[in-house]
């Protein structure tokens, strides 16, 4: 069983109740098509489990093969530093097919964030260290591709990926209640 090595803290982006029985941590890449495909599934799962579940997203961009994945992760962090991580996160995945740096800047404007501040943050690499920190934490936890999910700290190893996360979450809820 491969275990999550980096605990969830207030530095993380968390969707859902802090007292939830189950925490799912996703390591993802905004240019990875499998991550894009997992997003609607995760939305359904969050709706299904309500306050029993919280979702944490961490960056695992494979920047050598996905040239916009790095700037996209930095743009999400930029939005996060201004309280809009999840809005940017969803906007990026919704536009995955046409991601580019100009598009990221346009998305910032749509979310009432300063496009100039985002441009400067990307140019200065203000969020590079945060993104690389997520990546290396993932490597140390045995993340071997994207998306990789951890359910209450245990890596979800399944050929179906997100599609059978809900049965794993059910098991975790039963285990937590026992």
């Amino acid at each position: 069983m491969t275990q999550l090595k980096v605990p969830v803290t207030s530095l993380d982006h968390v969707l859902g109740d802090d007292d939830a029985l189950v925490t799912v941590v996703e390591y993802g890449d905004y240019e990875c098509p499998h991550c894009g495909a997992a997003q609607p599934v995760l939305g359904q799962i969050l709706a299904q489990f309500g306050n029993q579940l919280r979702l944490v997203y961490r960056h695992f961009p494979l920047i050598e093969i996905h040239p916009v994945a790095g700037p996209a992760a930095e743009a999400a962090e930029f939005a996060g530093s201004r309280g809009k991580f999840w809005k940017m996160h969803q906007a990026i995945f919704a536009n995955q097919q046409r991601l580019s740096v100009p598009l990221l800047i346009a998305l910032a404007a749509q979310l009432d964030l300063s496009p100039i501040e985002l441009r400067d943050a990307l140019a200065s690499g203000a969020f590079v260290a945060k993104v690389r920190g997520d990546f290396m934490g993932g490597v140390r936890s045995g993340v071997n591709g994207t998306p990789t999910f951890f359910v209450n700290g245990v890596r979800h190893d399944s050929p179906y990926g997100a599609a059978d996360l809900s049965s794993e979450i059910n098991r975790a809820i039963l285990a937590a209640a026992a």
Binding site: T2, K5, D29, C32, P33, H34, F60, L62, I63, E64, I65, H66, F135, M136, V139, R140, S141, G142, V143, N144, G145, T146, D157
Partner: protein
């Protein structure tokens, strides 16, 4: 799964082709640490395939004083195309002729399929295997085991000749 060479074994020497006109020998890295990653084949169809993942962890391997070498039975031309496509910054060695001979010498060859195992070896500066791991062939073993094994080694003594100017083998 094969029985791969365990830690405490001297790493078998080899010389393999990297590109159609360049070769590398394990002896070239004497005095430095080597991560030898055998894998079944180029062109895995997933985003985070093993070699792509290691490409992104390369700065960490190098910070820990180790050079990474990938090995499969694919030919040098195939490696060249794969490395270019995935923008790999480390050498892929071609265990092509006689086929799989180096993988066999490490106990990391799957005769039924005619490919290498997903087998990892950390080799120290004296050419000794200090850690090895064989993953189920369908499962990308990730990089955490390699990093843990490299961190478990004593600090590398600085050798001015060897340490200077990282050899760019890619």
């Amino acid at each position: 799964m094969s029985i791969i060479l365990p830690k405490g074994t001297q790493a078998p020497a080899f010389t393999l082709r990297v590109t159609p006109d360049q070769s590398l020998s394990l002896d070239d890295f004497r005095g430095r640490r080597v991560v030898l990653a055998f894998y079944p084949a180029d062109w895995s169809p997933v985003c985070g395939d093993q070699m792509s993942l290691y490409n992104h962890v390369l700065p960490e391997f190098r910070r820990l004083g180790a050079e990474l070498l990938g090995v499969s039975v694919d030919g040098a031309w195939c490696h060249q195309a794969f490395a270019r496509d995935r923008k790999l910054h480390f050498a892929l060695l071609s265990d092509f002729e006689p086929k799989g001979a180096v993988a066999k010498s490490y106990g990391a060859y799957r005769s039924a399929e005619g490919v290498a195992e997903r087998a990892l070896f950390v080799i120290d500066e004296k050419g000794m295997i200090t850690w090895s791991y064989c993953s189920p062939v369908a499962l990308n073993p990730g990089a955490d085991g390699i990093l843990d094994a490299l961190e478990a080694l004593p600090p590398l003594e600085r050798q001015d000749d060897a340490a200077q100017g990282s050899r760019n083998v890619a």
